[in-house]
Each structure stands twice: as structure tokens, then as C-alpha cells.
Symmetry: C2
Subunit: 104 residues, 2 copies
DNA sequence: TCAGAAGTTCGACGATCGTCAAACCAACGC
DNA sequence: GCGTTGGTTTGACGATCGTCGAACTTCTGA
């Protein structure tokens, strides 16, 4: 579990990258869950995909700067970088979270 | 130039699809241009890609429901579906357009 | 009538993506 | 120590994507 936990600084957040990160059903599910429940351990989100795939999606979100990951023992606690996103792209995350349609 | 000009209805707009459509540098350039300049003919946006590629990107935006295309002779006039997007995803487009960073 | 212009469509290509199983690593509990 | 648990990494796979040139369609203007 080397895990650099590399997260971009606020000023390095790239809109294209963030939109790409959000433009996936599984990752959108993760983001919604984090928005509702606050910080979550990586594994406690039900996604219907394998461990490896889940890890991959969390990595994409983290590297896009959407989430913050805190290591604690064997667990990783993941949370939304709401303030950072709001500072860099005001209103964006709110708009994405507002959408109820996609809950299915 | 068969061109169905198929555009989804407001209630059929899908967040994932829209975010995917916006998550590309070229298409983001198009959207910004349309936001600034209003309706534009397809070809009058400088993108640095071939005719075929440009046509492809316009198609993606249209089918995602981001743009409206009006045929007039050999030209296609493309415009942002601002109202529809605002109704379906309040604040989303505004947030995307707000970003100045990406102008390069 | 016919040449040209505006867009689309059709392969084709390399690159990236989402997915998985399997192997791996690091911490915890016994 | 040792097995277990939570998560990552590593290929590998098929699918999708962005790109192009070339052929095509449709309209326009001389």
C-alpha cells in the first residue's frame, strides 16, 4: 500500500480533468455518496464493481482533485474537497449534486 | 448531408452524458465560443483540428443536448441550449463558463 | 451546368478507458 | 508468528474515443 495519495493543489485543478472525472456513472455515485454521508472509508460504498475497479475510480477522483484521501491504518477515509472545488469552480459541484434524476 | 440533427428533449438530458461531452478541451473551446459569440456557423470556430474531427465534436455536443443546430443552406448554425440546460441542471453551465483558467 | 464550399460519413489508426482476476503490501488481531 | 482484512498494483481484455484523409452529399453562385 505505497499510495502516494497525490492530490493536486487548488490552483492546479483543471476543469477538463474534473469534468472527465465526474463524467462516469460509478464515480458520480461515489461523489453523491460522499456528499450525503460525509467522509467514508473506501470500501463502504456499494458500487457493484470489483475491488480493483473501485480502487481505480477513487484514484481518478483523487488525482482530479475531487476528493481528499486520509490514510488511517489499513483504511482510507475519503471525503469531497467541497471548499477547494467551490473556490476554483464556484457552483459546479452544487450543480452536479443537485441532479436527482440520475439516482435511479 | 443527411444529418438527422437529433437532439434530446430537456427531460431526457443525462448528467453523465453532458459531463462527458464537456470533458474535452476541444468541445470546451466550442462551448466557450458559443457562449461568447452566440450562434455560430459550424466552421467559423477555430479549433486546430480537421473538418471531420470538428464535425464529430459538434455531433457529440448536439447529441448530449448541449447545443442546438439549425440548418440553413449548406451551413449549420449552432447555439448553446442555455435555457434547457439551466432548467435541467441549474447552475452547471454557468459554473463551467465561469472558469477563466482554461483559456490558456 | 458545373465548380466550389460547408458538412457529414466512413473506415482506419493509435490511445485511452472501464473492467476484472491475481498478486501484492501493510496494518491489525489473535 | 500468522491469518485476515482493506486497499493497491499489475497485466490483460474489449470497448470507446479523438484523430485523420478520403469519399460523399447538398446547396450556392457564376
Amino acid at each position: 500500500m505505497t499510495a502516494d495519495l497525490h492530490e493536486p493543489a487548488v490552483e492546479d485543478l483543471d476543469l477538463t480533468t474534473v469534468l472527465q472525472a465526474l463524467g462516469d456513472p460509478v464515480r458520480l455515485t461515489i461523489v453523491r455518496c460522499l456528499a450525503d454521508e460525509g467522509e467514508r472509508a473506501c470500501g463502504t460504498v456499494e458500487l457493484g464493481v470489483s475491488k480493483a475497479t473501485r480502487s481505480h475510480h477513487f484514484k481518478v477522483l483523487r488525482e482530479a482533485g475531487v476528493t481528499h484521501t486520509r490514510a488511517e491504518g489499513t483504511h482510507r477515509h475519503v471525503s469531497l474537497r467541497r471548499d477547494d472545488l467551490e473556490r476554483r469552480f464556484p457552483g459546479l459541484l452544487e450543480a452536479v449534486l443537485q441532479d436527482q434524476h440520475a439516482a435511479v
